[in-house]
């Protein structure tokens, strides 16, 4: 089990009802971690349309979930 903090932005935050949440998870990698959060909150965005960041840097979805890390799910951006 790993303890992580999940960060939600934009429509994901609205759907989760929170900007962040602590989580204890057995998810082996970041894809599985998103699937877990998606199931719990009913996120409409499929993982293919998201990027993921760990501790403030873009990461690979196949990376393992590190204990103590902060994981951000990044919906499609719309700055500018």
């Amino acid at each position: 089990m790993a303890r992580v903090t999940l960060l939600y932005f934009a429509s994901l935050r609205d759907a989760a009802g929170a900007a962040s949440e602590p989580l204890e998870t057995a998810a082996p990698d970041l894809v599985a971690l998103y699937a877990e959060a998606q199931a719990r909150h009913g996120f409409a965005l499929p993982v293919e349309r998201l990027r993921v960041a760990v501790d403030g840097a873009f990461a690979d979805w196949r990376d393992a979930v590190r204990d103590g890390s902060e994981v951000a799910f990044i919906p499609p951006v719309s700055g500018g």
Partner: protein, 147 residues
């Protein structure tokens, strides 16, 4: 320490110091871009909007874009600022500038930077429409209808 080349601003910002940062004795050309809040998007009347950023990652990714622009184009300096928070129609949302000895590089770099910022920097736009609805914009890809 000079100010960073890319910055998220949670309040209105002055462009004079940004222009000043681009000045250089060898700079004959400076191209800049302002993105402002329009009163419509995709034909739908817009009343106002809010930008939200993942600030830490946005500033890191923005800095990377500016570094890449300095390596990729024959420019002397470049910088950019993107707003977050509530913005009214006409307010400045993003500013990009690039200076160079010649205008080709200045225009190309300025255009490339705004395109990359829109495509890569974790910032999200929440639009409020005249009909009372509101929505986050999560474009499927770079949306050609964007300013």
């Amino acid at each position: 320490m000079p100010s960073p080349r890319f910055r998220i601003a949670d309040a209105p910002f002055d462009i004079a110091p940004l222009h000043a940062r681009l000045q250089h004795e060898r700079a004959g050309a400076c191209a800049s871009f302002e993105g402002r809040v329009r009163d419509h998007n995709d034909g739908r009347p817009v009343r106002g909007l809010r930008y939200e950023a993942y600030v830490e990652l946005a500033e890191a990714e923005g800095a990377r874009i500016l570094d890449e622009a300095l390596a990729r184009f024959d420019i002397l300096e470049a910088c950019a600022v993107h707003r977050t928070g509530e913005l009214a129609i006409g307010e400045l949302a993003v500013w990009v500038g690039a200076s160079a000895a010649h205008r080709d590089a200045a225009f190309e770099a300025c255009r490339w930077i705004i395109d990359e910022v829109k495509a890569r920097v974790p910032i999200w736009k929440h639009e409020r429409y005249a009909d009372g609805e509101a929505d986050w914009l999560h474009p499927c890809q770079t949306d050609p209808s964007e300013p």
